[in-house]
Subunit: 430 residues, 2 copies
């Protein structure tokens, strides 16, 4: 029996808008947004799409009209009553009313600000300018839209059975990853794959597969909409944009040096427990920890997001020990380019020495490599970053020079100020 | 949007009756039925279910109540107007009005006769008695029901994701078989997998996958309902039951010796061209060909359904040559336990020397081996055969003693009459 209403509805493109809710974003974006709205409500920033995989000619793959249509659709979204109720009433990280009433009121009225899109050769220049709390919320939907439009462009040319087999193979691959991970005793793993997912429905399927495969070992998702829909914990704390914008605003070298710690001092006022996770790599993990104030060693955890994960994790453990902390009560969050072998190896090395959480991203929600001719669905490295604050360029050094960004002279200055020595380049896959 | 009517309909067991139409049977059954109705309308026969894989405890796996319910459902079926129109109006093997008006009228009024079911230890004894034209039509639905009830029994205990991945893996397997077969130049292949299929919906999916994967190389299906639904050629000619019943009715050894050829003499009156396909193995291929009348060498083809397929095919080619026939104008139909490696090897050996068709059965429509714990979905060998005619037992010798059936003293007599020497046993997988 045919559901006529569904079929007629499906005749229009609205069958699957790529971003279907303002909650279809990473939880840490909302946490950071609330923080930024308090400390920097009027700071003007620019976010920009950056395709680190230049060999992927996005402007040839993705139709500009479709891209505008999807971006416009996001601007038509408003927080629904049910979504607002969920944010207001839910317990996040064991805390009620994580989001303050004034923030919720603002969020309920929010429309994402305009975007600027132009084609430059085979790439798009896509930027967002305006007040930091508004502009920052474009990051995840912008990435998800580009990623899914690229998937859809590849899938358009495929027949019905080729599509069915493609998804059969991809599902089998995800499931087999889950079966391997299930064997890791004491694993704690979350989905961090929203931004570079194959598509929304696919991410939602992957999350359900992990719920089924991993049970208690699957601790949640960074995606608020899926957390709400699947009754999961929303996971995430803070990201590079906080120190990057604060550093860009610093008037001199001394203020620049202090900026990353001031960000965390602010955060400490707002959050406790498992939300106190340090992201130390923005200007080099080694220097960050060496120069960190003592109170930071009291924080719960450290997120390892670039560089050699083993080396950085060992660095973190030694730092905690040097500050009289027991690493077994601390938390390491690994979140950089993970797949099953990396998770297995890191867990084998660090389990028992420190608490562990794995934030599994693109290789959970977008591992279609080798499944279509020309490997046209292979994941690639796309980011959307704050590139300027109040007209001043931002800089990120990272523990991997391949992930560094900013004007060369500013990068040199930051390297000097933060005492970053030689770094080892690691290929950025996703 | 939920289609409430479908959901409510699905609450009942009627969501997927195993046999949903009297056309859900093999085409050759209808051809043979028409022939039998003309020559032996009142001959009383007994058909019986035979599980050649005794290690599969059918009565423990399949609930008796469910089995009765499905068998009763088949008895409630009547040929629909659209089905009758298709049989009356369609072109089969290039011929219009293959089914005569008197046969169609009879078929339109047909209800399958009662069945007899009792449990015997871990197996069921399932028999059908009555006039040959009616009883013979039970074979395919009875087998399909048992096979699918066994599948369903195994699937009942599985979770939603385990099921999804099971089918993802099975689909990928079928598709990859299609991708391999597509590379065989000049392949002609048909689905012969109705009787021992995993399930109706699965067979229908496999057929669609082969249409997509093989294009012109997929020449049709033995299943009338699927042929009608998917606009394919219905494929098939005749089977062992014709010589088996005729042989059982023979009053003496001399009549017995003539019986297999009389069957084909009858067939020749009714059919021409590609429908003139000899099934020579009922009482040994070698003796059958050696003693065959000359007019049989004029027939189009030979079906190889037991024994060593290469040996029997070479035998057939030599026989044609000895009778002044050009094998390149003849047809070999391979239909015994085929999978991709066998099809590849037989095609490589015989292509160019003779026309070839492959009737791919159980390993197309029921290859779930290795996909569930305990290999509980592995295909097994189940048949439903004429075991008696007018109270006299039937005998089949086959080219594989593992497939022989009948009372030992009758088997000995047949071996003597047909001059069958030593035979090599081959494991019967499906």
């Amino acid at each position: 029996m045919i559901d006529l209403a569904t079929r007629v509805w499906n005749h229009t493109w609205k069958i699957d808008p790529i971003v279907r809710s303002l909650l279809d974003t990473d939880f840490y974006k909302l946490l950071m947004c609330q923080s930024v709205r308090r400390s920097h409500p009027q700071t003007r920033v620019t976010f920009e799409l950056i395709n680190r995989s230049r060999h992927v000619p996005l402007a040839r793959l993705v139709d500009e009209g479709e891209l505008r249509e999807q971006l416009d659709h996001v601007r038509s979204l408003r927080l629904s009553r049910g979504e607002s109720t969920w944010l207001r009433g839910n317990t996040f990280y064991g805390k009620r009313q994580m989001f303050r009433p004034d923030f919720m009121e603002w969020l309920e009225g929010l429309q994402l600000p305009p975007y600027h899109l132009e084609r430059q050769g085979d790439q798009y220049r896509l930027t967002f300018e305006g007040p930091w709390p508004e502009v920052m919320l474009w990051e995840i939907p912008a990435l998800a839209i580009i990623m899914e439009l690229r998937s859809r462009a590849v899938l358009k040319g495929m027949g019905r059975f080729a599509l069915q087999i493609l998804y059969a193979r991809a599902m089998t691959r995800v499931w087999e990853k889950g079966e391997r991970l299930r064997r890791i005793e004491g694993l704690r793993l979350a989905d961090f794959g929203t931004r570079r997912r194959h598509g929304y429905l696919w991410q939602d399927w992957c999350v359900q597969a992990m719920i089924e495969a991993l049970g208690e070992k699957f601790i949640g998702t960074s995606n608020c909409l899926i957390a709400k829909k699947r009754d999961l914990e929303a996971i995430g704390t803070n990201a590079h944009e906080l120190p990057m914008v604060r550093a860009a605003l610093a008037p001199d070298d001394e203020a620049l040096r202090r900026a990353p710690y001031e960000v965390l001092a602010d955060w400490q006022e707002e959050h406790e427990g498992n939300l106190r996770v340090i992201l130390p790599d923005t200007y080099g993990t080694k220097g960050f920890l060496e120069n960190a104030p003592d109170w930071l060693a009291e924080w719960t955890g450290i997120r390892i997001d670039s560089g050699d994960p083993v080396e950085n994790a060992e660095l973190a453990l030694r730092w905690w020990q040097a500050h009289g902390q027991d690493p077994r009560e601390k938390l390491l969050v690994f979140s950089d380019g993970l797949d099953v072998p990396e998770i297995e190896a890191l867990h084998a090395r660090f389990a028992g020495r420190v608490r562990l959480t794995f934030g599994w991203g693109t290789l959970l929600t977008n591992d279609f490599s080798g499944l279509v001719p020309g490997d046209a669905l292979a994941p690639f490295s796309l980011v959307c970053k704050a590139v300027a604050a109040e007209g001043r360029p931002t800089v990120k050094l990272s523990d991997n020079p391949e992930k560094a960004m900013g004007p060369p002279e500013e990068v040199a200055r930051y390297r000097r100020v933060f005492g970053v020595g030689e770094q080892i380049a690691r290929a950025v896959r996703v």
